[in-house]
Amino acid sequence: MDILTGFGHGLMVAMQPENLLYCFIGVFLGTFIGVLPGIGSMAAISMILPLTFYLEPTSALVMIAGVYYGAEYGGSIASILMNIPGTPSSSITCIDGYPMAREGRAGIALFTSAIASFGGGMIGMVVMAVLAPGLAALALNFGPTEYFAVILLGLVAASAVSNGSPIKGIAMVVAGLMLGTIGVDITTGAERFTMGVPELRDGVSLVIVAMGLFGVGELIVSIRANASGAHQTDIDYKKFYPSRAECKAIFGPILRGGAIGSFFGALPGTGQTVASAVAYAVEKKVSRNRDMFGKGAIEGVAVPESANNSATQTAFIPTLTLGVPGSASMALVIGALMIHGIVPGPRLLVDHADLFWGLVASFLIGNLLLLVLNIPLIGLWVRLLQIPYRYMYPTIIVLICMGIYSLNNNVFDIWLTLIFGYAGYLMRLFRFEPAPLLIGFVLGPMMEEQLRRAMLLSRGDATVFLTRPISGTLIIVTILLLVYSIVSALRAKARSRAALRVS
């Protein structure tokens, strides 16, 4: 199926009434949750995940994708209006979005953010439609050795390049790999680390791990962060449309942000935050209006929003074609597909072309919905931000309980969520990132399976990972990445120590 035929077919799938409905629900709920300060797209997807089990795989994926980019867009609303990033990737938008709001240009900043998100999303969609089939065709030649090496690279990239210490990131990935071994070993049928608990025979549910680490963990953190009560916005957001000159000024940044975001989104481990930051830095260098950056430059809102949204779309490329998620949100997407019996990887484009192209086309519809929804609904989101958080968080905790309990109608799942929720909070306290743990947890069983197969086929010769050209190259890239991230972390630490000494 060539790209245009595939996309046309995908449009027909995405335009089916039920997919349109779930796309709308996903975008709406994603924006709703993303607007709440401190609750990001991970928590949003975790909360929605149980609902998608009852849907067809395509509808489920379309809805999850809608929640994902809806939450990313919702995050920028809190950034612009209150200088509180709803999601980490929208923190860059605060730099110019909030000063614009203080100048009484909040409406224009929100409109720019919506248009730039749409533009970036479209660029990301085109990149995905063009690149994914080629990558999938290449990956069809992969054997277990190559798969093991790709997964290893994905894990190291996701942990080492993420925020915080690379050593801690890798430790979290390994802890996730270990958690993934709990349950019955599919090769031998032996029980592992179940402690005789029958509910653990099938392993720990992805939803429980995600809902605990991100839903409950983030909720505990967010209570104090939002303890000041309602967020008052005395900002005029009624003037909405930018002038012709402003429209002209944001056109270039949207294209540049979209291109940079597409590149970083497709790389495992970097994601939207890095994409937004790099795009902002590049724009600051090339813009004619660079002196205004940080003081309310409209380009400073357009470029990170475009980069952020295009990265959101292209993050699906390695996830769907290789089965290797670049971020924790993508790990959840893989988990959701596997729950529906679909194994992400190069065969997905052949065996489930409907799903792949339907998803690509749903990006167009979802981004249009995002645009259409957010321009008239901006007043609703602002009002939502004004509801005191003391009313919101007890409601959210009930929704988490209901989502978990409805999985199996078993209270054991609630207790397990409580354990993971506490673990998630303590991890933040100990400065460990929970996201790499989730990626390791999802990829662990796949990694173990490929390792066992590779060792069996090579008759126990572990050098096969280095002697086969593709896997050897990937392992070398992994080692280089690891060395680079450790060296740059040590350098950053030395710089901050030197700065401390000087001050």
């Binding site: 050593i167 430790a171 802890a175 032996a190 680390f193 505990i220 306290l429 008759r459 010769d461």
Partner: protein, 162 residues
């Protein structure tokens, strides 16, 4: 009660440990986890290089985590920054709310369980009075009844044992 909670929050604000201790504690927890998996994996059997056994992957990852934990402990013990400010009140309240839901949902039904869960979660909030907390619980409980049982038709009992 309100004064007590406010005082607790204030004293919580001033108690800042160095991060070194907390960080090392996290590393020690990971080390213990790695030991459990190494010992458990060895008991399950690691097999041969050609046919990796059930315990091989847990042992491999356990050793890797053990080494990383030692690095984390060494690194964090040299950290001179202040620890993150823990919010034990919210920690306890959210945990208690989940526990209340787990204990009550099958005994008393969805509506009373949600009411108690919301009440428990909002208990430490000094800005909301007791009646306000109960009212919020009632509103959320009725909302859940309408949404999950009325609209989504999920197999929950609204009331049980009454």
């Amino acid at each position: 009660m309100k004064d007590f909670l406010l005082r607790l929050r204030r004293s919580d604000d001033t108690a800042r440990l160095p991060h070194a201790w907390l960080g090392a504690l996290g590393g020690i927890a990971l080390l213990a986890l790695s030991l459990i998996f190494v010992i458990g994996g060895l008991r399950l059997g690691v097999g041969s290089p050609r046919r990796l056994g059930t315990g091989a992957f847990p042992v491999l990852t356990g050793f890797a985590l053990g080494a990383l934990s030692v690095a984390v402990i060494a690194m964090d013990l040299r950290d001179t920054s202040d620890a993150e400010r823990p919010d034990w009140i919210s920690f306890a309240a959210i945990g208690a709310a989940l526990a209340v839901f787990a204990v009550t949902v099958e005994r008393v039904g969805l509506v009373p369980s949600v009411l108690l869960t919301v009440f428990t979660a909002s208990l430490p909030d000094p800005s909301l009075r007791l009646t306000g907390k109960l009212l919020l619980g009632l509103v959320v409980a009725l909302g859940c009844w309408g949404l999950f049982i009325g609209i989504l038709d999920l197999p929950f009992r609204a009331f049980k044992g009454f």
